[in-house]
């Protein structure tokens, strides 16, 4: 998918100036983020991969970061843009702390800020090429929302980006319910991540599950999921084949 408006008057030099403020395509990308609300707060799962086109180039990228005291931000899409967003949020949180008034930015405020940033960049045809997931807990209230690179923003009990939209959300729609325990929440996320591992070419088997509650943020150590290959049908699928199938 590319953002280009063809201006063909054959003058590449003139076009270069007018096009200089437009992001055309991503380079290093992260794949799906899956997140759910549970009894104590929010759980968010992501793998640690950074793909460079079809190459699985980086295998130790943290795509979920704590923001302030009350929020967790996960990103899929261009990693350099995610790093830039983290810099913006760093400044936002710093300025918030400088008031020294005991108040701190909650997840709703951070989500709103990000929505404005993403939508305004979209209007200038120079998007930050990310889909962001913002989860958090403040004053006992859990919050989970999403913003896309074109500024579409909403809240829900469970969200997923990228391939997760197609593979994880149906599972979540069926199996999510209010007040999930931590164990059930983790198992549900792992079920989604396993399917993504089987079916998403850019997924890698190294994931982290992050949790945010009133107490604070915990990001798990990186770990791998077991996968199942022992279906009878997998063992010798071409046994009775006439030719290739």
């Amino acid at each position: 998918m590319t953002f280009t408006i063809p201006i063909d008057n054959g003058d590449a030099l003139k076009n270069a100036e007018t096009d200089s403020q437009r992001t055309l395509y991503p380079y290093v990308t992260g794949t799906s983020i899956v997140a759910i609300k549970y009894k104590e707060g929010v759980l968010m799962a992501s793998d640690m991969g950074g793909s460079y086109g079809s190459t699985l180039r980086y295998k130790n990228i943290e795509r979920v970061k704590a923001i302030g005291k009350h929020s967790l931000l996960g990103a899929s899409g261009e990693i350099s843009d995610f790093q830039e967003i983290l810099r913006y949020l760093d400044e936002l949180v710093l300025n918030d702390n400088m008031w020294d008034d005991g108040n701190s930015l909650g997840p709703k405020e951070v989500h709103n800020y990000l929505t404005r940033v993403m939508y305004n960049r979209r209007n200038k045809f120079n998007p930050l090429w990310n889909t962001l997931v913002l989860g958090g807990v403040k004053n006992g209230q859990s919050y989970l929302g999403m913003v896309s690179m074109i500024g579409v923003s909403f809240e829900d009990n469970h969200v997923a980006t990228g391939f997760g939209n197609h593979l994880a959300r149906p599972i979540l729609r069926d199996e999510w319910h209010a007040d999930l325990s931590f164990e059930d929440g983790v198992k549900l996320l792992e079920k989604c991540m396993r399917v993504l591992l089987y079916r998403d070419r850019s997924a890698i088997n190294k994931l982290q599950i992050s949790k945010i509650t009133e107490e604070g943020v915990t990001v798990s150590q990186p770990y791998s999921l077991k996968t199942f290959w022992e279906f009878q049908a997998f063992h010798n699928p071409t046994a009775g084949a006439q030719g290739s199938w």
Binding site: A16, Q21, T23, P26, Y27, V28, N60, S80, Q83
Partner: protein
């Protein structure tokens, strides 16, 4: 033959940066191509930014040169203001700043490596787009495609300086064997608390790979050195 001499100078390239127990080893090939023609067969792609920080350049030769020149200038000022050597992290972040903010116009992938007293030896990869990734080792350039599997198998933590340099030389040499855009000599730069060492490995100092033959002066030498006459007693 397709000799497009007007094509932009590009360093097809293989570049590598590896940390070891005490510092870093940077390595690169030496080929700069203009389309199919080799414009410079002995380029130096490992460029100094400060006394203790170097950068390996790949992609567009012009873009990478200009970015390093700017960063060298910024770091020079930064060092004066700071009153002590710049850290590797600061160098990497300055490169990132230029790479990210000009992502639409630049086509260069860089590997920043160096040693400072706070963090020791560090390697930062900065691919197209301006992402910064701190890594125990980094590979880049067109030749790196042939090295992902090699490093997955051969890399280990806490190597000695000699092991690390041998690994880098071997890897660049393997990439040169298969990547048409990489070639020439293997250059390495070792940076640690004691300082900086530059090394140079021409083709004859490297081991031979699959289907490569021992270089000769002439066929005549082979014929003249031929074995004993048949049936000679």
């Amino acid at each position: 033959m397709d000799l497009n001499l007007d094509a932009p100078h590009s360093m097809g390239t293989t570049i590598i940066g590896v940390t070891y127990n005490g510092g870093v080893v940077l390595g690169a090939d030496s080929r700069t191509s203009t389309g199919m023609y080799v414009a410079n067969r002995a380029s130096d792609k490992i460029t100094q930014l400060t006394d203790n920080v170097y950068v390996c350049r790949s992609g567009s030769a012009a873009d990478s040169q200009v970015v390093s020149d700017y960063v060298r200038y910024f770091l020079h000022q930064h060092t004066i203001q700071l009153g002590q050597p710049a850290t590797v992290k600061v160098s990497a972040n300055l490169i990132r700043m230029l790479a990210y903010n000009n992502k639409n116009m630049l086509q260069t992938g860089l590997i920043v490596g160096g040693w400072d007293k706070y963090e020791g030896g560090k390697i930062y990869g900065i691919p197209l787009g301006g992402t910064v990734v701190e890594q125990p080792f980094a590979i880049g350039g067109s030749g790196s495609s042939y090295l992902y599997g090699f490093f997955d198998q051969a890399w280990k933590e806490n190597m000695t300086k000699e092991e690390a340099e041998q690994l880098v030389v071997k890897a660049v040499s393997l990439a040169i064997a298969r990547d048409g855009a990489s070639g020439g000599v293997v250059r390495t730069v070792i940076i640690n608390s004691e300082g900086v060492t530059r090394n140079f490995y021409p083709g004859d100092k490297l081991q031979l790979w699959h289907e490569e033959l021992e270089p000769q002066n002439s066929l005549l030498d082979i014929l003249n050195a031929a074995g004993p006459e048949p049936m000679a007693i």
